[in-house]
Amino acid sequence: MHRIVEIEDRILETPSTVTWRFPYAEPCAPGQFVMVWIPGDDELPMSLSYTDGPSKGVTIKAMGPTTRHIQSIPAGSRIGVRGPYGNQFDATPRRLLVVGGGSGNAVLAPGVERALRTGAQVTCALGATTERELLFSERLAGAGASVEVATDDGTAGTPGFVTVVAQRLLAEGAFDAIWTCGPEVMMRKVAELALAYGIPGYGSVERHMKCAVGMCDACSLGPYHVCLDGPVFRTEALLSLEEFGRTKRDPSGRRVPL
């Protein structure tokens, strides 16, 4: 059932990304997502960027018509929320490497905070196209993570892809687990690194979603359904899928290039 809630807080994170905080009593875990309904517009899957306490949050990047429209919706507006759905990030790593890109950082953030609270050592490699688009690097550094940054245009941190930073961190330090979320080409690279270093990897994946409860098949990914078996998968499992990083299904169910 949809619950109608008011956006209590609206934070402009970057020029193209907004966070909404809203009251939502359901227990939620890092990695899980909710379906967010903009009445009169679409309903979209959004990972929770804040999972603790009575007030949950999502962080939304402008990608198409609805997510662009979302950027201008004021606090106090009403939205529909259902969920949480899906699985969560493993709660037990001790030395954790996190590799995020773009809005993927928002998906990873609450899990990083939880890991830090339970005493883990967390190193984050966070990527963005440009400095102003960099998401949650301060939030995670403030929480106690060691944060390295990469931007495509070199306006902050290492110039180039975040995977390069990740590769260096893996060469330098020891990790028990790698978490990743971002563009699939990036995640494929991280998955390959995890394999090469023999470290368990976990990646949060996106596919088109409609029902979110494992019925309509919209989100099928190989033998899996992202809404039911994911969104967090072992990167080994992802690597074995011919679709991963290459194709997805459009709303009609046709396979299209990613």
Binding site: M35, D42, R78, G80, S220, S252, R255
Partner: protein, 314 residues
Amino acid sequence: MAELSVEIAGIRLRNPLLLASGIWGESGQSLAGAWDAGAGGVITKSIGSEPRPGYPNPTVEEFGSWGMLNAMGLPNPGIAEYPREIAIARDRGALVIGSIFGGTAEEFARLAREMEATGVRALELNLSCPHAEGFGTEIGSTPQDVSDVVRAVVREVKVPVIAKITPNSADPAGLAVAAEEAGAKGISAINTVRGLAIDTTLARPVLAHGIGGLSGPAIKSVGLAAVWQIYRKVTIPIIGVGGISNGIDALEYVMAGARAVEIGTAVAHEGVRVLGRIVRELDDTLTERGVARLADLVGAAHRGFNVPTADARP
């Protein structure tokens, strides 16, 4: 171990549980997954002539654990793209039934030919989607419509044709009779029941399409009534659908007259392993009750039952 295999429309199913159309039915790997999980057969998403994205979200609203409303809008990749998905499922050994929908009898016939060519073992005609303007119920709501479509399809194909009937009718049995007379080899009953949900704080329908179809436990009794009435009017096998989520539910349908059943909404949250669970529950129940063959129970609730009159008592 009771004998669960049944024959419908000349096809032997290893057990009577079919994956319902529209559930895990867009991708071949999903169909194969349902087969691997224990289904006796899998029915594809209803496929049309063109790729169709379906309605915008929200497309689904759940009511507790007893009901679900949906208006997907018949999204499907279109008949040109779909054969590769069927091939994946068939390669894994799945017994596949192809569901199609169209706007006219001719369109149904054309789709039927193309669907048959994919190697499906039977066709299910969706004459009953309650929320797709111009398709579904709108084309399947009178005996004449049903008859026209079934006749046009039967002429074109060799595989058995199953007509899926709407409950949104004064007389579902009349629709089934029309299908049988037009050459259908089986009846599926029912599709979803027309429904709507409104959010009162927003003063608007919850589903983007407004009207949707109710499914799940809430409609089990509605599906049972349809199967019961159809059983008294036709001789072709009936496939019961609607609200089945355990072995006893499936048995209710069998006793009402169904030879096989379809599982839809019960897949939500649990995934297709629900199919394996229901097969096991059915087997356990029959074994416990000393019933050797499920097929012997088809229509059992009709035996010795007489409708009383309201004037039977002083």
